[in-house]
């Protein structure tokens, strides 16, 4: 099952932090408080969009062909994502 990484608290909607990391090989567990990396704060579809964009060498034209969407639609999606990332960085 592909589990979704929760990024906000289901109780109060605040941003979650990483408290524990675990190694499956040697069963080591690290405890502490770590902030989630910026990319992990994005929704799964937004992360997929960024990966696809990189795989298309940052070409919106290729991206539009791949997603079967028009160029301005893909450009608008990218601009929305840029705005969201800027907001997250400025938090």
């Amino acid at each position: 099952m592909n589990k979704k990484l929760p990024i906000t608290c289901p109780s109060c909607n605040s941003e979650l932090k990483v408290q524990s990391l675990h190694c499956d090989e040697c069963e080591t567990t690290i405890n502490g408080f770590y902030n989630l990396p910026l990319l992990l704060k994005l929704e799964q579809n937004e992360q997929d969009f960024i990966i696809s964009f990189m795989q298309c060498s940052g070409s919106l034209k290729v991206m539009a062909q791949k997603l079967k969407l028009s160029y301005p639609t893909v450009r608008n999606m990218l601009d929305e994502l840029i705005e969201k990332i800027n907001n997250l960085q400025n938090k």
Binding site: S70, T73, R75, N76, D79
Partner: protein, 198 residues
């Protein structure tokens, strides 16, 4: 399906929509010439006198160019994104498809008779015209059909503007209405000049 009907620009824009849109504009002008339907401004559809073909062609092209230039200027001033001129012109040309269908209403003579009848009986002008019940029903259906096409056309224009200019929310509605009003004024003036020249 509804998405494709009202916002095909999610899937098509740029050079593809421009070529398709220009084909639609030329087809509209040819049909308009044969059915005597003209577009005195960006959104009006009316029956016309017998004008030469060039009148319908210039009118279709100028309506499209004026509205595209107005929306392009608005997009440059108000959009947070880098705008491509081909998207604005292409999507605006494609959005004129409903008016290709609207020209077909000119094949019916019922509306002409009905119009003459209204002028003669209510406005007391023009020549006497008699209409049958069938012609009245057909005329009302044509008026309602044209109204539906106009609503479809304006929705397409709005979505074309919104998508190609990346302007959202209330701002997009206000700027669209303002741009449309400016375009209506400019294209009305062009049509007046065109009628005088021709």
């Amino acid at each position: 399906m509804i998405q494709i009907l009202f916002n095909p620009f999610k899937y098509i824009a740029g050079i593809k929509s421009l070529l398709l849109g220009i084909a639609i504009l030329i087809a509209t002008s040819i049909l308009a010439f044969y059915t005597n339907i003209h577009f005195p401004d960006v959104i009006s559809v009316k029956s016309s006198s017998d004008f030469p073909y060039i009148y319908y062609l210039i009118q279709c092209i100028s309506n499209w160019i004026v509205v595209s230039i107005v929306f392009y200027i608005i997009a440059i001033l108000a959009s947070p994104s880098k705008i491509r001129i081909v998207d604005i012109f292409g999507t605006q040309a494609l959005s004129r498809f409903p008016y290709l269908i609207a020209t077909l209403t000119g094949f019916s003579t019922s509306l002409d008779n009905f119009e003459k009848y209204i002028y003669y009986t209510i406005l007391k002008t023009g020549e006497f015209a008699d209409v049958t019940d069938y012609e009245i029903i057909i005329s009302i259906l044509i008026i309602l059909f044209t109204l539906a096409l106009t609503i479809w056309f304006i929705t397409l224009m709005f979505n074309a503007f919104r998508t190609s200019a990346n302007i959202k929310g209330v701002k997009s509605v206000i700027l669209f209405i303002a741009g449309l009003l400016v375009s209506i004024i400019i294209t009305s003036l062009i049509t007046n000049q065109l009628i005088q020249i021709i």
